[in-house]
């Protein structure tokens, strides 16, 4: 059914006029609110900036760790290795395919985790395990964001959105108000994070590896 602004009942104008006199905002209490904002932000622990070299070094380590099973898939063995290469022994060979597979593995784990987490929101409970899992995934997510896997624009955006959601879950504690859970659920739904994760993950990834 096409809907146009012109599809307006004469009563609509009266309602609109009256509605502007409902809940009329008072002057903004800007200083009062700012003091509360500053105070609440000061009360939280500051996040230390990450040294630039750590993500790169750790990214390689993470890719190696995640890619134990996938590394051999990512780099086909040369049929005729040169003597120099053979003499040098096994060199680290992390290529774009390995990063892509590591990203797929990570996204699959994240998708499974968020699916379980969202389902768990329907019942009250302790979210400490979810928080710990989110922290682990968050670490991998940050590494991937700094890796060549994030050069793909769609993947990078997905990883950035995922980072926000994981960071929120990681901050959950037994005393977290229910509103925090609502905001996390809203964050997952508003950014279409789960559908995008499912789209990014090839069928069978991660769960077939027993990721969760």
């Amino acid at each position: 059914m096409p809907v146009h602004d012109d599809d307006r009942d004469p009563l609509d104008d009266r309602i609109r006029e009256l509605a502007r006199d409902v809940n009329v905002p008072p002057p903004t209490p800007r200083d009062e609110m700012w003091q509360a904002i500053a105070s609440r932000r000061r009360a939280r622990p500051a996040r230390a900036p990450r040294p630039r070299w750590i993500p790169w070094a750790a990214a390689a380590a993470a890719v190696l760790a995640v890619g134990i099973g996938i590394g051999r898939l990512s780099v086909p063995e040369p049929s005729h290795p040169s003597p120099a290469v053979a003499d040098a022994g096994p060199a680290p060979r992390v290529n774009a395919t390995a990063y892509r597979l590591a990203a797929e593995e990570h996204l699959a784990q994240s998708e499974a985790f968020l699916t379980l987490f969202r389902a768990s929101l329907e019942r009250p409970g302790d979210h400490r395990l979810a928080s710990a899992t989110a922290r682990q995934l968050l670490a991998g997510n940050r590494l991937l964001l700094d890796s060549p896997a994030a050069r793909d624009e769609a993947t990078r955006r997905l990883l950035e959105d995922l980072e926000l959601v994981l960071a929120e879950i990681a901050q959950l504690s037994p005393g977290s108000p229910a509103q925090d859970l609502d905001l996390i659920r809203d964050g997952i739904e508003r950014g279409d994070v789960l559908p995008r994760l499912r789209q990014a993950v090839p069928t069978g990834t991660a769960l077939n590896h027993g990721a969760l």
Binding site: V3, T28, R30, I37, D182
Partner: protein
């Protein structure tokens, strides 16, 4: 009252109601974001000053209560500062802030409704916090109740479009929906309100 121009993110909405001396100077969002991310505390305040009026107006319209509105605006900016590094600039900063504000407001309204339902369940009379719509003869009061009774999505679109003067395109960007969805929800919201006020229309 004529709604302020919602497409101007740094123009204080409803400025006629405010002390002009408080209105912030136009600022460059991109520059401000850079300074905030670099750790400049003055930039945080400048960013807040540039957008707080617009956010407060919208949140207050949704909340209808000063304490709740203040809480939700504070939550909006705290979340915005936390997420600022992830702001990609796909929309204007003001739109992004309003998106967070609406999200916080809708969640807040759900909390309020749940709390109210619990109170009602505990109260045998079952009338705590609610005045039956037919009991109040004042059209404005009745309209306020009817707006409050709208489903969250309808309420947000009605408040943004018919009260605060946002366009459907702006609402769509803020709520993450298609403009057609915004139009459809406004159409249905108006129909609900007409229905709620039908007997006044006959008078």
């Amino acid at each position: 009252m004529t709604p302020a121009n919602p497409s101007a993110p740094h123009v204080v909405r409803g400025a006629a109601q405010h002390d002009d001396s408080q209105a912030p100077e136009p600022v460059n969002d991109r520059e401000l974001i850079g300074r905030v991310l670099a750790g400049d505390p003055g930039a945080e305040r400048a960013l807040y000053d540039a957008h707080v009026d617009r956010v407060f107006r919208l949140v207050y319209r949704m909340a209808g209560d000063l304490d709740r509105a203040q809480d939700w605006v504070q939550e909006t900016f705290i979340r915005a500062f936390d997420r600022l590094a992830g702001f990609r600039g796909d929309s204007a900063l003001g739109t992004w802030l309003c998106s967070i504000a609406i999200s916080v407001s809708l969640n807040g309204l759900r909390q309020v409704r749940r709390a109210r339902d619990r109170e009602v369940a505990l109260d045998d009379a079952g009338l705590l916090g609610h005045v039956p719509i037919q009991a109040d003869p004042d059209l404005r009061t009745r309209l306020g109740q009817a707006i409050e009774a709208l489903p969250d999505g309808y309420r947000a679109v009605f408040v943004m479009h018919d009260v605060e003067g946002y366009t459907h395109e702006e609402i769509a960007r803020t709520l993450g929906v298609q403009p057609g969805t915004s139009k459809a929800q406004l159409f249905r919201a108006r129909a609900r309100l007409r229905e709620a006020l039908a007997d006044f229309a006959r008078e």
